[in-house]
């Protein structure tokens, strides 16, 4: 690569989340580059919410997010499988009760 590569400056990366509707959970939209939080909000709005996709936006510096890794996937989420009693299907209901429904 040539030209400006000696200049390392690039605006930091921010992850963008938006709430589609009142009462709905926030969803990840993608990311934007911005010099500060205020600009990140502006860029997030311009990039991901031009057609009223949401009613609220969060921006988070990407390097502030701690995430699970794929290698962790099994041990990390597995315990649920040996606790079937956490699910309602684990319990039986008398036939008569079911019928009434």
């Amino acid at each position: 690569m040539t030209k400006n590569s000696n200049n390392q400056s690039e605006w930091p990366l921010w992850e963008v989340f938006y709430q589609p509707k009142d009462g709905k959970p926030f969803e990840h939209a993608g990311s934007v580059h911005a010099a500060d939080a205020e600009m990140a909000m502006q860029n997030a709005r311009d990039t991901y919410a031009r057609r009223s996709e949401g009613i609220a936006i969060w921006v988070v510096p990407s390097d502030q997010i701690t995430a699970s890794t794929t290698e962790d996937e099994e041990p990390f989420f597995d315990p649920a499988n040996d606790k079937p009693y956490r699910h309602p299907q684990f319990y039986s209901t008398p036939r008569a009760v079911k019928k009434r429904k």
Partner: protein, 314 residues
Amino acid sequence: MTEEEKREAFQERIDNGEKIEPKDWMPDRYRQQLIRMMSQHAHSEIVGMLPEGNWITRAPSLKRKMVLLAKVQDEAGHGMYLYSATETLGVRRKDLIEDYLYGSAKYSSIFNYPTLTFADICVIGWLVDGAAIVNQTMLAKSSYGPYSRANIRICREESFHKKQGYEMLAKMADGTPEQQKMAQDAVNRWWWPTLMMFGPHDEDSPNSEELIKWGVKTKTNDELRQDFVDRTVMEAKAIGITLPDSELKYNEETGHWNFGEIPWDEFWSVIKGDGPMNRERMKARRKAYEKGEWVREAAMEYARKQKLKEEKAS
């Protein structure tokens, strides 16, 4: 797991229709192919703003000016979604952009053609965005999660682009003899370059087989091109526009429209950088990037000072 076992497990996930996410293991070649393809797609969206931006001040009415402004803004947005998705593969956006401005990264051949009249803007919406939708609808099913999601979003917006172009062209084709001539002339000039957008014939496309095996693409260049021709022939008829191909003929057996041979020599020369507008487009992009340098620096400096001020105040 050995490398070979990992590859097998990966292929199995693809064959089961699972999506690959940024932190998942993936073959190097899969990552490289995605970076190449996704950044090329992003560059194309950004270059695409140039031929259209050129007509914003000269749009025939306030309504058309507003529509065109919104469309050009969308193209910028599409470029940003795609750059953002490409960055999930562990590359810096700055490097992607510089590899394109000063290196070897490519963009779609279609943006190397000039827009001579406003009818070209109508035709770009109808044909070029129409072709882009066919391609991006397929890519919305891509095996790489972030790429698939970016394309879903893009497709939702792209149908506005296509419809506004088709509507404008229909109006022009229904106008004065002079307007009709202008509309037909633009279609004549854009038809073949649009068919080239799908890329070379399958047998001449070095990456296709691998991309399909990995579910990055789900249809071949020729299949997509045929889809596009089939749907466009009817749309042309409906507004009294002729497509400049004497071999265009409905094939009763296949249920598809046969069409003539694409001028491949022209395609390859545009790809190699010798299209009518290649040099101008690259020059405009480099100029924008270099002249924008101080803005990027100033914003960082402003953010730094604001932060200092806040720290002092607290």
